[in-house]
Amino acid sequence: MRVYVCVKHVPDTAANIKVVGGSGFDESVKFIVNPYDEYAIGEASKLVKAEGGEVVIVTLGKASAMTTVRAALAIGGDRGILIKTDKQFVESDETALILAKAIEEDGGADMIFAGKQAADSEGMQTCYRLAANLGMPVATEVIGFSYADGKAIVEREIGGGEREVIEMTAPCVVGATKGLNEVKYPKLPDIMKAKKKPVNEMDAGSLKVDALGLVELVSLEQVPERSNAKMLEGSVTEAVDTLVKLLRDEAKVLD
């Protein structure tokens, strides 16, 4: 099987984000493998271990995203494709067209995994658009996966503690989230090996996709943390009595 994993190069979730120039941000922060994509890599590796074949990491990002391709290859994967662009935020429709084209030109997929969303732009839709471009079925927020006889069975949480069990005909697109597997953090030998794995680099422009430009980022604004919390002093009983009174009369969030 040829299994692709779409991986995004994103700022560390703990990084301080400083908005610059109205719709950009200070990119001199640490970048990492998009956290949800780690589950995707783990599941792809398990599948290829069972079925044979190879795992290919595909990343659309700036040239600096090579660190993320290598980090992903250290978690799992045989080779990589880095499609270079000069933007951090590439609109989902365009991203999906580029990924689909790159995957097809590379030989085509027997299965595609990705994270359910990017931790930076939180679009939550690239998996769906990628699947539509390739004529494949798709499910995201996947926390359970199995594969047999050309069918993938996935599970997703649908709220209220319920889980949906979905059957898809392969090839299909699976959007992973926490719960799908335990992420194994790479050890030094994995990191060294990953440095030697082949990575095919190309420019996004060379794939010549026609994106419609469906979503435009107009502006980005910093959200200030709340501050000046009211600290409730006194004995435990006094503190909770005051709290209940404030929640009822001041904040008006309790009846």
Partner: protein, 315 residues
């Protein structure tokens, strides 16, 4: 004034209250609202919808028969139903199901889509949504044939606007390639109130220490008709189920009241609850970071403070 569609999330035979904020957003300065339900009987939902300005409720079905197990067919039927009444903008709740259906519609029609929004301006064609897990907010302008936007539960305060309502049925002539089928819905039985739609959430962190100890949070939440959440550490330690996790890799919630008990206040946890109206922190370390980003704080042992709070609520 425009005609705006709202896909309604139903619960058996009733309209989930979480829809009312979405309807309020759709109404804007007096838009005409048509509601779509993926149920057989539109009339059953009239009473629940007319208070919020819905002038027509349309039960959408497919000529193919039962499409409840085929989300791609549901999406195709909704696109056809919108076209049938000349609606190009559709809003819904950013629930697991709402997000999934809108994304299927957007992908199939190459339309602009924004999910997990906390604001929408239908005249300008823009949505506001968190980027970077709530550290920033982005304003997005959507284009394409359809304008599709899912709104985070509780993000928009509901207001009533009663009107007359009619009900009708629309059967879409759509077919499906059969490549995706929902085989089964398994109930875990645990969660009573859906976390992302709860008005009050009481959350436990690492110091809760065991599954059993969560009962003190449950009693407190019950006293307010709320739900119980957990931090990732509490989930990964086996004290709570994954469905209860709040945060970046868990549920996104926006209740009126969020009470964090034994939470340090990590950015990843705040990613999931930062837009709560009021945040209360209970922590035994006066220097815990959560006290710098909440509205009310109590320094104390959660095993003393939470039961006392439950008692105070019952007074």
């Amino acid at each position: 004034m425009a005609r705006i569609g709202v896909l309604i999330e139903t619960n058996e035979k009733s309209v989930k209250p979480a829809n009312f904020g979405v309807l309020t957003a759709a109404r804007g300065e007096g838009n005409e609202i048509y509601a779509f339900v993926l149920e057989a009987d539109a009339a059953a939902f009239q009473d629940g919808l007319k208070a919020y300005g819905v002038s027509k409720v349309i039960a959408v079905g497919a000529s193919d028969g039962d499409f409840s197990k085929k989300p791609d067919l549901q999406a195709a039927a909704l696109v056809a139903a919108m076209k049938n009444v000349e609606i190009t903008a559709l809003l819904t709740l950013s629930s697991t199901r709402g997000k999934d259906l809108l994304a299927r519609m957007a992908a199939a029609t190459h339309s602009g889509l924004a999910l997990d929004c906390i604001g929408v301006d239908l005249d300008a064609g823009t949505c506001v949504k968190p980027y970077f897990a709530g550290k920033t907010e982005a304003t997005l302008k959507l284009s394409g044939d359809l304008f599709l936007c899912a709104i985070r539960p509780n993000a928009i305060e509901e207001t009533e606007a009663p009107c007359d309502i009619t009900a009708e049925t629309f059967t879409a002539d759509v077919t499906d390639d059969g490549k995706l089928v929902i085989k089964e819905v398994k109930a875990s039985g645990s969660a009573k109130v859906d976390l992302s739609e709860a008005n009050v959430i009481v959350t436990g962190g690492r110091p809760i220490g065991s599954k059993e100890n969560f009962s003190i949070l449950e009693e407190c939440a019950n006293a307010m008709g709320g739900a119980v959440g957990a931090s990732r550490v509490a989930v990964d330690s086996g004290f709570a189920s994954h469905a209860m996790q709040v945060g970046q890799t868990g549920k996104i919630v926006s209740p009126k009241l969020y009470i964090g008990c034994g939470l340090s206040g990590s950015v990843q946890h705040f990613a999931g609850m930062k837009t709560s109206k009021v945040i209360v922190a209970i922590n035994n370390d006066k220097d815990a970071p959560i006290f710098t980003k909440c509205d009310y704080g109590i320094v104390g042992d959660l095993f003393e403070v939470v039961p006392a709070l439950t008692a105070a609520l019952k007074k």
